[in-house]
């Protein structure tokens, strides 16, 4: 009897304590503005995404030092969706509905973004998406601070075709929506430029693929036909490491068959020996090696924050910085963190990027970005070999695919539609509610 009473009391007591602990933080939260961080901290994408979590924490800390936002402190809420796409959607819902964050900075792979898109549209949240992607999307609730294909893929192919004289193409990607759609766009673009179908080789591998022997051997054979060959790589995550190692082991040098990657930056190279990779290329809108005062200040701040002078900066980090700056400006302009007010206030706002230009938020929720092509150096940095004169505005709907040629995204009045057909003057799909 006694024991049972004791147990009953223990259970009630702990239940009460748990209940209180669930309620109390909510009351304390009224004094802060919450910012969600939705990046994989484990799994195959952790190699790329962990540093973005640290970037947002740094930006939040910096803003708090400036006095916060609208008189309140910012608080970062970090979750780990662990490279698991359905878990991304769950965590997004948790951030918006339970933690009541004002904005979420997150996602890398397009499949993770596609998984969370319905959640953000249903709960009317805000997502700042910092990574280059395949386009064909323009949502009211998402701001695409990474490159659209016309700000990365197409200029890279132009550089290979015109400056390097490439005649044969290998399009190698990981098997999910981003490489599939990007390769569709690139195939259409190359055929438009007169490249024959037998001069294009397309190949897909699963996430985390590590046995590259046959594929690299095939690339070697394809490239040994006497015409200059290049590989356009949309391989994502840690599959890149064994891919580049196999290229090095089989003796495929950058002078013979250059590989231009869209998802490999300073962070992915920081863990491997880059000597066999020297000369291979990447196309981004920012490189750590760009010599501007804004970039030098950012790198200094990053090294101070992480207390590690060896940490590198990369393009998605710059995209987060631009997105965060634009969000802060929009919130201050709107006087509120409410989604609809921020969406209305943010279009047309400008903020400096780290390469000496200006990033402007466009009506289709993309920004203006410069395009840079860099060659890998033996210290894991990139040396810029080509760049655009000014910035290129992001085009959400590719002009090279028949289904999207006529579409425009425009979230300003009166159109207020993500996929507005300029020929028929109608809005297909979901308009803003």
């Amino acid at each position: 009897m006694r024991k049972r009473d004791l147990i009953k009391r223990l259970v009630l007591g702990s239940g009460l304590a748990l209940g209180l602990s669930a309620v109390l933080p909510a009351t304390a939260a009224d004094d802060t503005i919450k910012v969600g961080v939705l990046h994989s901290l484990s799994g195959t994408m952790a190699i790329s995404e962990t540093t973005l979590k640290d970037t947002v924490l740094m930006l939040v800390e910096e803003q708090n030092k400036k006095g916060g936002l609208l008189g309140k402190k910012l608080e970062a809420v970090v979750v780990d969706p662990a490279s698991n796409w359905p878990l991304f959607a769950e965590k997004a819902r948790e951030l918006i509905a339970k933690d009541k964050v004002a904005a979420v900075f997150g996602c890398w792979t397009s499949v993770s973004r596609k998984s969370v898109l319905p959640v953000f549209e249903e709960l009317n949240g805000l997502l700042f998406y910092p990574v280059q992607y395949e386009g064909e999307e323009s949502s009211k609730n998402v701001f695409y601070t990474g490159a659209a294909p016309n700000q990365q893929a197409i200029p890279a192919v132009d550089y290979l075709m015109n400056d390097l004289g490439v005649k044969r193409w290998v399009l190698a990607g990981t098997d999910y929506v981003y490489p599939r759609t990007t390769n569709k766009i690139l195939e259409a673009y190359l055929k438009q430029k007169g490249v024959a179908a037998e001069d294009i080789m397309i190949n897909y591998t699963p996430f985390g693929h590590s046995d590259w022997q046959s594929i690299v051997a095939d690339i070697k054979k394809f490239g040994g036909a006497g015409k200059k060959t290049a590989v356009v790589s949309t391989i994502n995550g840690d599959a890149n490491v064994p891919f580049y190692k196999e290229l090095g082991n089989q003796g495929v040098s950058a002078e013979d068959i250059p590989v231009v990657a869209f998802s490999v930056g300073e962070e992915e190279l920081s863990g491997i020996d880059t000597k066999p990779l020297v000369g291979h290329l990447a196309a981004w809108n920012y490189f750590m090696s760009v010599d501007t005062p804004e970039n030098a200040a950012f790198i200094k701040q990053w090294h101070a924050f992480t207390k590690d002078p060896k940490r590198v900066t990369n393009d998605p980090m710059e995209a987060h910085k631009i997105g965060f700056d634009l969000w802060v400006k929009a919130v201050e302009k709107a006087g509120s963190t409410a989604t609809d007010k921020v969406v209305k206030a943010i279009v047309g706002l400008e903020t400096p990027n780290l390469t000496g230009g200006i990033a402007k938020m466009l009506p289709n929720h993309h920004i203006t970005k410069p395009v840079l092509i860099g060659e890998i150096q033996d210290d894991g940095q990139f040396a810029v070999v080509w760049q655009t004169e000014g910035t290129v505005p992001g085009d959400a709907w590719s002009d090279f695919l028949p289904g999207s040629k006529d579409l425009e995204g425009d979230w300003t009045a009166p159109i207020n539609c993500g996929n507005y057909n300029t020929k028929t003057k109608t809005c297909l799909g979901s308009a803003a509610k």
Binding site: D218, V241, Q250, E255, G279
Partner: protein, 524 residues
């Protein structure tokens, strides 16, 4: 490619070198390229070390000092400088005093061509051979002229062969029909891609009927040789994939086969072996080339101890209950993954490859075997033989076989079956750890690494026959080869799916696998 041509020989050479040198410091890449070509054209022996230094990234510029171009090597926190022309020591400077000359791909190509031209007369036959191969790709008249000149003087047989081929490739484009016919005859059966490309272009443009017929015949011969080489290459890829499967599965063959224990933590035991390699490399920085020899016994011990611990604490109580064992070991796999995540890191760790495992063995121009796969193939066979010897020749092996065939009888004969069980599980786990060391050289090492191999391991064991080592070996190699032969036309994902479907169908016909266990206990 070579601008000034060989007419700059002799008295003009010395002046030409000094004239061309400052061009290397120019900011624009085309100017640098012209300077490289001019330097190569001088034929001056002093030009070679300068071009090699530039290619290696050791050539730097200095502001306002003479000479403005220097070769810099790291020395302490700064650089130690040398004059590129006289090789004189110029003292030491700090980091910021010199600026590296940047390269791009076009410049690197020009440098390789220039170095090849200059090294064509090197005293080392290996260097001459490589120069001849590099120039084979270069269709410019100057390179061809250089090759012809060298061919007259060459004494070394191996280098002569390469030079003859290179000159023949050039002859395909120029000269009389007789010369072209002779070139086609020389290139018959050559596996160099330049030979094949040259013949293809010839056939497309050829006017003379005899030459065309001869070229088509030569091309067919080359293509059939290339196909055989491609098949050999695919076979090698299949065997190397098979060796990875065998290494992963062989530990499981012991625990599953001998004890009937379904160990879902097998992948994590491999992962622990891979992490042991990482920790060994962290403990012995600078000894990467020897780290694997330390890591293999260390991983065996670490995973073996984990295996024995798992057996004594969990599996021992669940004999004869396969479903509970499956669940329990699955839970253990999650615990081990989280253990690694909390104690080391949730992200991948970088395991370095020793230098002797990088690069490839070039059998002929069409067939190259990468060293890392070659060594792992040999290693898998070594592990297999070692395990076979342990089971056939040692006392422990005898007891293990006895217990697996008829436990009650073995106990009646005085074998301590509980101790044998623990040691068997430890042996299987230790082998898994050793497999992890091999895997760390091929794939990313992270907490989830084991998940990728657990399914494959069970696949191999079930296909090859439970408890049979030879079955595991044959089964693993067969699956690897089948997967790699299907990959070119089905793609990586579909090939894997087809292999799995094949195994499912095979198991319908032969549920015991390729080499089933025999004996009354097995049948009963």
């Amino acid at each position: 490619m070579i601008l000034a041509g060989m007419t700059w020989w002799g008295t003009a050479a010395a002046g030409a070198l000094e004239e061309a040198l400052p061009g290397l410091a120019d900011r624009a890449f085309p100017a640098k390229q012209q300077a490289v070509q001019a330097l190569a054209a001088t034929g001056d022996s002093r030009a070679l070390p300068i071009l090699e230094a530039l290619l290696a990234g050791d050539l730097y510029t200095r502001e306002g000092a003479d000479p403005p171009l220097v070769v810099a090597r790291p020395s302490g926190t700064g650089w130690s400088l040398r004059d590129p022309l006289t090789r004189a020591d110029l003292g030491e400077v700090e980091r910021e005093a010199v600026k590296r000359i940047p390269l791009n791909n076009a410049l690197r190509t020009a440098l390789r061509g220039g170095i090849a031209t200059l090294t064509l007369s090197s005293p080392d036959p290996v260097v001459r051979s490589r120069a001849a191969k590099d120039l084979m790709r270069d269709p410019s008249p100057e390179s061809v002229a250089a090759l012809r000149v060298r061919l007259e003087q060459e004494q070394d047989a191996a280098v002569r062969t390469t030079l003859v081929l290179a000159v023949a490739v050039a002859d395909l484009r120029v000269g009389t029909p007789e010369a072209r016919l002779a070139a086609v005859a020389t290139l018959e059966g050559s596996l160099y891609p330049e030979a094949r490309n040259g013949l293809t272009t010839l056939i497309a443009n050829e006017t003379d009927a005899d030459v065309k017929v001869a070229a088509e015949r030569a091309l067919t011969a080359i293509d059939s040789r290339l196909t055989w080489n491609a098949r050999a290459e695919t076979l090698f890829f299949g065997l190397s994939l098979g060796s990875v499967l065998v290494l992963a599965a062989i530990g499981l063959a012991i625990t599953f086969g001998v004890m009937g224990v379904i160990n879902m933590a097998h992948g994590e035991l491999m992962m622990l072996g891979a992490y042991t390699t990482y920790l060994v490399q962290q403990a012995l920085p600078g000894w990467v080339d020897y780290s694997l020899f330390v890591a293999i016994p260390a991983a065996f011990i670490v995973s073996g101890l984990f295996g024995i611990a798992i057996e004594r604490t969990v599996i021992r109580f669940l004999y004869g209950r396969p479903l509970e064992t499956l669940l329990a070991t699955f839970g253990i796999s999650l615990i081990l993954q989280q253990l690694v995540r909390t104690t080391i890191s949730a992200q991948n760790v970088a395991v370095e490859n020793p230098s002797w495992m990088s690069g490839s063995l070039q059998i002929n121009p069409a067939l190259a075997l990468t060293y890392n796969r070659l060594y792992i193939l040999a290693f898998a066979l070594l592990v297999f033989v070692a395990l076979l010897l342990i089971l056939k020749r040692t006392a422990l092996g005898l007891q293990v076989r006895a217990v697996s065939q008829n436990r009650a009888m073995a106990r009646a004969m005085g074998v301590r079956s509980a101790r044998v069980d623990a040691l068997t599980f430890g042996l299987g786990a230790g082998i898994a750890g050793v497999a992890g060391v091999a895997l760390s050289q091929l794939t990313n090492v992270g907490p989830n690494m084991g998940q990728a191999y657990i399914i494959d391991s069970f696949m191999v064991v079930v296909f090859g026959g439970v408890g049979n080592l030879w079955g595991t070996l044959i089964g693993g190699m067969t699956l690897g080869v089948a997967n790699k032969f299907m990959e070119p036309w089905a793609g990586a994902v579909l090939a894997k799916i087809l292999v799995l479907v094949f195994i499912i169908l095979f198991i319908q016909k032969r549920p015991r696998g390729l080499f089933p266990q025999r004996g009354r206990a097995a049948d009963g």
